[in-house]
């Protein structure tokens, strides 16, 4: 059994878990350490309320709200100034802390391992267990260290690092491991880039990803709402020198190139300058309308999407904005930016990034998970080929028949302008 320090719910499954507890007469053992937000299906169009594009989605919102209020859980509601995607707002508010255990019924909870927390995604039953008992029953995960030595070259980002790892080791390459990301190229990353990297540990089937806290971690956290002042001594939260891992992987960061996915698993990724591999999965090729040996660079796109818990933070938007400034989205391309949180949105607007995007022809929306996945409401035109800063390119993930290519926000921005997949 492991004590659970922080639990974060969302409207897509929060009501199901809390209603189930209530009907079993089980109470939330410590509601002060449980948080919830409306992010998964909440509308991202301006002027939003409880109504969603997804038919019946307002029920999820109203039931989650009622259940949170009844249980005494802090809720960041639809139009709360702190609303946003769980894995964006939890760090913003300092809810995740180094050394804490953090769970949420969302597979991308591993994002928050970037702070040296043990943070992992769980199902609804486990969420009920954590809330009712303050603990989870966990088989001790195996340990893996992935060391990125050397320096990244220009134009290569944390997104490319994780796609490179996925391409090399597969969608089951981290199965059941807690993966510590270490090495010179990791410590050189800012906190938002570390979150992007840890975010996709789940795509390796890892239990979670984690990065040892350092000065950058403490600088980021200091002064945030739920962070203790003064900061506790978190300096010893790192693997011992000479620690033995169940598995070690070494990667030369300087050899990583800008990446893009070609298929229907995040592990189906290649260098933007490369071609679809000869041994490519046939079903994936058929779904994506591609052939082996085909170049992805210059492939025409219909949609460019910047958003999601992977790449929607202020630094992502700043880098993307530099590539679209004073330019226009290509004719016929639908381009959208969905800020990761209401706070990111305000910060971006204060810097004029919204204007840069809208002048170029992007839609600028309210924050939420939005079109990272299709919930039955809003989708892209049928058959669209989408370049997306998100984390999953599964069949139908963004809508029936939609073909998703995942990449960094830089690649998405440059591709939106060019109308085709483009090296930024």
């Amino acid at each position: 059994m492991i004590a659970i320090d922080r639990i974060f719910l969302h409207e897509r499954t929060g009501a199901a878990a809390l209603n189930s507890m209530a009907s079993a007469n089980r109470a939330v053992v410590d509601p002060t350490r449980v948080f919830a937000v409306m992010d998964h299906i909440v509308d991202t169009r301006p002027g939003r309320g409880d109504k969603t594009m997804m038919p019946g989605g307002d029920t999820f919102i109203t039931e989650t709200r009622a259940a949170c209020h009844a249980a005494g859980i802090t809720l960041f509601d639809v139009n709360d100034p702190d609303q946003g995607i769980t894995h964006v707002i939890s760090p913003e508010l300092g809810i995740v802390l180094p050394g804490c255990t953090f769970v949420a019924p969302d597979s991308h909870t591993c994002t928050q391992g970037a702070f040296g927390a043990l943070a992992w995604g769980i199902g609804s039953s486990e969420a009920e267990h954590a809330m009712a008992t303050g603990t989870l029953r966990v088989a001790k995960p195996k340990t893996m260290r992935v060391t990125f030595s050397g320096k990244l070259t220009a134009r290569v980002t944390a997104k490319d690092m994780i796609l490179h790892l996925l391409a090399d080791h597969g969608a089951g390459g981290g199965k059941g491991y807690v993966v510590e990301f270490a090495g010179e190229a990791i410590t050189a990353l800012d906190m938002e880039a570390r979150m992007t990297l840890c975010n996709m540990a789940t795509e390796l089937a890892a239990f979670s990803g984690i990065i040892a806290p350092d000065a950058a971690t403490l600088d980021y956290l200091k002064g945030r709402r739920y962070v203790p002042d003064p900061l506790p001594d978190w300096g010893d939260l790192r693997s011992d020198d000479g620690a033995l891992f169940d598995c070690e992987i070494n990667i030369d960061a300087s050899a990583i190139e800008p990446m893009v996915s070609w298929g229907t698993s995040p592990s189906h990724s290649i260098s933007l300058l490369g071609t679809v591999p000869d041994n490519a999965d046939v079903k994936a090729l058929a779904y994506m309308g591609l052939t082996t040996g085909q170049r992805l660079a210059d492939l025409a796109i219909d949609v460019a999407f910047i958003g999601s818990c992977t790449n929607s933070r202020i630094s992502d938007l700043r880098r993307a904005a530099t590539l679209v400034k004073s330019k226009k989205v290509a004719e016929g391309v639908l381009a959208l930016v969905i800020p990761g949180s209401s706070s990111v949105k305000r910060a971006a607007e204060a810097e004029g990034l919204d204007k840069i995007f809208t002048d170029a022809g992007f839609e600028w929306r309210e924050s939420g998970c939005s079109l990272c996945f299709f919930a039955g409401g809003e989708s892209f035109p049928p058959g669209s080929r989408v370049i997306s800063s998100t984390n999953r390119n599964f069949e139908g993930r963004q809508g029936p028949g939609i073909r998703t290519h995942i990449a960094s926000p830089e690649v998405v921005a440059a591709s939106a302008i060019a109308g085709k997949i483009t090296v930024p």
Binding site: T32, H129, R137, A205, Y226, G396
Partner: protein, 197 residues
């Protein structure tokens, strides 16, 4: 929860790697906050030619007459990857699948199976090849499928065999967890939030 002891069934083959939970139950099929009403949406993208009209795809394994009533599904590596949605397991269970045999499982899906009385059994691809399409007998206590041995973690096995509710089991240790927490509150006071700001 219904105990899982032994099961004999035809084995429906779904020979793909990385079957994700979006494929098992797409988000658009999760139309209520209930844990039920999900069986129709199971594998909707593959099971129906037209999901909205529910037009069956005759090529999909569960639509083929020889697999009607199959309680065992056999698949490839990394089954259940992607979203943590427990609806994937609820949909399988409601449809009538009690056991998934795969080369490997994504960890969140695996735990969700254990919490819902579905046996997730990992076997090598070559063994799965011999089982798929035929009848198989799973004996959880003996840890065999048609005589092929499989590994399962001791607690997961016990939870399935006895149909235990994990929360009830843990609440038996309420005094010990409270005592631990009292010590932890002194050691890590910043973890405990007395009142929200």
């Amino acid at each position: 929860m219904k105990p899982f002891t032994t099961l004999t069934s035809i084995v429906a083959p779904l020979p793909r790697d990385n079957v994700d939970t979006d494929a098992i139950i797409p988000s658009r099929e999760m139309t209520s906050t209930s844990k039920t009403g999900l069986a129709d949406g199971l594998f909707a993208p593959w099971r129906y030619i037209n999901s909205a009209a529910r037009t069956p795809n005759p090529n999909f394994v569960l639509n083929q007459p020889e697999y009607h009533g199959a309680q065992i599904l056999a698949s490839g590596a990394n089954f259940g990857c992607g979203s943590s949605r427990e609806h994937a397991v609820w949909a399988l269970a409601e449809y009538g699948i009690s056991c998934v045999i795969a080369e490997s499982f994504a960890p969140i899906f695996y735990n969700n199976c254990i919490r819902n009385g579905i046996a997730p059994i990992a076997l090598p691809r070559t063994v799965i090849g011999t089982l798929a399409g035929g009848a198989a007998t799973v004996d959880l206590a003996a840890q065999t499928v048609n005589g092929h041995a499989f590994d399962i973690e001791a607690e997961a096995k016990m939870m399935l065999l006895e149909g235990l509710d994990a929360i009830d089991l843990t609440l038996k240790h309420r005094d010990a967890t409270a005592a631990w927490q009292a010590r932890d509150r002194a050691a890590r006071p910043w973890i405990y939030l007395e009142k929200h700001p």
